[in-house]
């Protein structure tokens, strides 16, 4: 480095000195920056086809403007109410029934005193999380088979009538929710267990000396400790109320239960990818995102007022 430059410490000199030691880091970031740019930001830019009559040949920009035509088309579609209703109902049921289970499970595991048993319980309850979605859907259809499924075998043995669960609209939501509970409750309890590990030992001692029993200890010490975690996770969960995971619904869907199992994401897939109606389905996706954002802001605001805990 030239002494004159050093002495003057012009911004060029400082820049070169900085880059000399830091250029590697920018190189390190380059692949990730590119990946995100191509596969996240360009699709975002592509959202504008929701406002255009998209033709593959003309690209994102070449297609003519249509304004809100596709949004109106979606809202006026005869199945709009059913679609939104199905999505919200499935999502709400999933939140209401799956959200509390990991919390209760975490308390239960936390109260096990035998360390070996505790480890076994954790290992076996986390396990279903790692089974693939396709396998879980396969298990569901095998277990619920009208003739050979174990569920119907048990029903029959107890003198009941065999039921073709997967062909029944009314059984779709319970099946979905129960399998979600089965698959993810254990795994989702980890975060609460780690929050419970932070419970202040001194207050537990003090409570015990005061004669508090285990339930009282849970209610007055454990619950308040993990309440912020619970609230944050609940806000995040509610903020995706219109995001019913495509993958499992799609696997469990058939013509017989479509009247309740058709949700926004499966509809988008059928109409967009299989049907080629790109502009309409992009508009539906954007509509979906906007509703989610509004719900998230709303819930976050309510929570900040009521409980002082919020995401932002």
């Amino acid at each position: 480095m030239q002494p004159t430059l050093l002495g003057k410490s012009s911004w060029q000199a400082r820049f070169f000195r900085y880059m000399k030691s830091h250029w590697v880091f920018y190189l390190f970031l380059l692949p990730a920056l590119l990946d995100v740019f191509i596969f996240k930001y360009i699709p975002m830019y592509g959202i504008q086809i929701a406002f255009r009559n998209f033709k593959i040949k003309q690209g994102f920009l070449g297609s003519e403007w249509t304004g809100f035509k596709y949004f109106i088309q979606f809202i006026e579609a005869p199945n709009f109410v059913e679609l939104i209703g199905n999505t919200i109902l499935l999502s709400l049921y999933t939140i209401i029934f799956t959200f509390p289970v990991p919390i209760i499970l975490a308390f239960m595991i936390n109260e096990i005193r035998n360390l070996r048993l505790k480890k076994t319980a954790q290992m076996l309850t986390y396990m279903p999380h790692f089974i693939s979605m396709v396998a879980v859907a396969g298990l569901i259809s095998l277990f619920l088979d009208r003739e050979s499924g174990i569920v119907n075998i048990i029903i029959k043995a107890m003198g009941g009538e065999q039921v073709a669960f997967l062909g029944m609209s009314s059984a779709f939501r319970p099946i979905y929710v129960i399998s979600e509970i089965w698959q993810h409750s254990g795994w989702n309890s980890i975060i609460y267990l780690s929050a419970l590990a932070a419970v202040d030992m001194e207050s537990i001692e003090a409570a015990r000396i005061d004669g508090a029993n285990r339930i009282q200890k849970i209610m007055y010490i454990d619950v308040p400790t993990i309440l912020p975690t619970i609230i944050i996770l609940l806000i995040m969960r509610v903020g995706t109320v219109l995001n019913v995971g495509f993958e499992k619904v799609y696997l469990l869907q058939n013509d017989l239960n479509r009247d309740v199992s058709e949700v926004i994401s499966t509809y988008t897939y059928r109409l967009g990818i299989l049907g080629g109606q790109f502009s309409l389905t992009t508009a539906i996706g954007l509509f979906n995102n906007i509703i989610n954002a509004i719900v998230l802001l709303l819930v976050n605001g309510i929570s900040r007022k009521v409980s002082d805990t919020s995401l932002f």
Partner: protein, 309 residues
């Protein structure tokens, strides 16, 4: 008589009667929960080794009835399973390496506090966690890149996980600065420091991330469903979907069939049922076998993540 007077538990303080009741109920409930979690998987294993007639007839509950490997044999005779397996292994291996190639250097760079533009770049990444273009524009980008129906589509698109980057970055931040300083004094450049000091000492986080991504690749079917048309590129999950969920009931014309032919048809149809159990076991085998040994790494990942989040 004297034995009864001894404290029944070695704990520091004696448990009250209420606590004993509480513990008992808790343990009982926990046993039920463990049973509910494990039994479907256990039943699948048992059924896969059983005689199809016993499974369909509802005789199988706790152990294999009429032990047979027939269903495994017929799964392995199905060539699609083999190609699916090979494809999935390739996608998982190459995909995970590629994930780490994107993830580790970027996370390390963002863990350096002296990096200018660090907040901006982090914001650039984090924004995509909350807002996205949606399935259709993503599909159109893949299409215009000419990746539709190529094996690369299972590896390249969206290989960088922002969430995992945050976890990994947090981990790198806790790295002792003195080690880096010492290496610098010895004349090592930043690249060498990363390759020869940081990476070898970050085994835990690398394992956690490799496992997360590997399981993700192994179990993924969405990208395949969206972008692949050719059977020869199908990952195992798509093959499994075809066998398990798309079995159009074979409405064969049975009129004019001899009794033997009918019996054979029936036998094969019944075997097709237990074959599904075997396929589920075969497809999840690597995960089921590795799971007990690597479980702690997964939990570790959640723990690191929860500190930040």
């Amino acid at each position: 008589m004297k034995k009864l007077l001894k404290p029944r538990h070695k704990g520091v303080e004696a448990r009250t009667r209420f606590d004993v009741v509480f513990d008992t109920i808790n343990l009982l409930l926990m046993c039920v929960i463990i049973f509910v979690c494990a039994y479907p998987i256990y039943y699948t294993i048992v059924a896969s080794f059983s005689d199809p007639n016993a499974v369909i007839g509802g005789k199988v509950f706790l152990w294999p009835i009429g032990y047979t490997l027939d269903s495994y044999r017929s799964v392995l005779n199905y060539s699609q399973v083999w190609t699916g397996y090979r494809n999935t292994i390739l996608y998982t291996a190459i995909g995970t390496v590629y994930n780490l190639f994107l993830l580790l250097p970027a996370s390390y760079a963002l863990s350096r506090k002296t990096l200018k533009g660090r907040g901006l770049i982090t914001g650039y990444f984090v924004f995509t966690m909350y807002f996205g273009g949606g399935t259709i524009p993503f599909y159109l980008v893949i299409k215009s890149l000419g990746l539709i129906d190529t094996p690369a589509v299972m590896i390249i698109p969206g290989a960088f996980s922002v969430y995992n980057m945050i976890i990994t970055r947090t981990n790198f931040q806790s790295f002792p600065e003195t080690l880096r300083e010492a290496a610098k004094v010895d004349g090592a450049g930043e690249f060498r420091i990363f390759m020869q000091i940081i990476l070898p000492l970050s085994g835990a986080i690398i394992s956690v991330m490799a496992l997360y991504h590997a399981v993700g690749h192994w179990n993924s079917y969405f990208n395949g469903l969206l972008f692949l048309n050719s059977q020869k590129y199908f990952p195992l999950q798509l093959v499994m979907r075809q066998v398990l969920l798309m079995n159009q009931s074979i409405s064969l014309d049975v009129t004019g069939m001899s009794t033997e032919e009918l019996a054979d048809l029936l036998r094969r149809q019944r075997l097709a049922e237990t074959m599904k159990y075997s396929l589920i076991i075969i497809a999840n085998l690597p995960i089921l076998i590795a799971y007990p040994f690597v479980q702690k790494y997964f939990v570790k990942g959640v723990m690191i993540g929860s500190i930040k989040g």
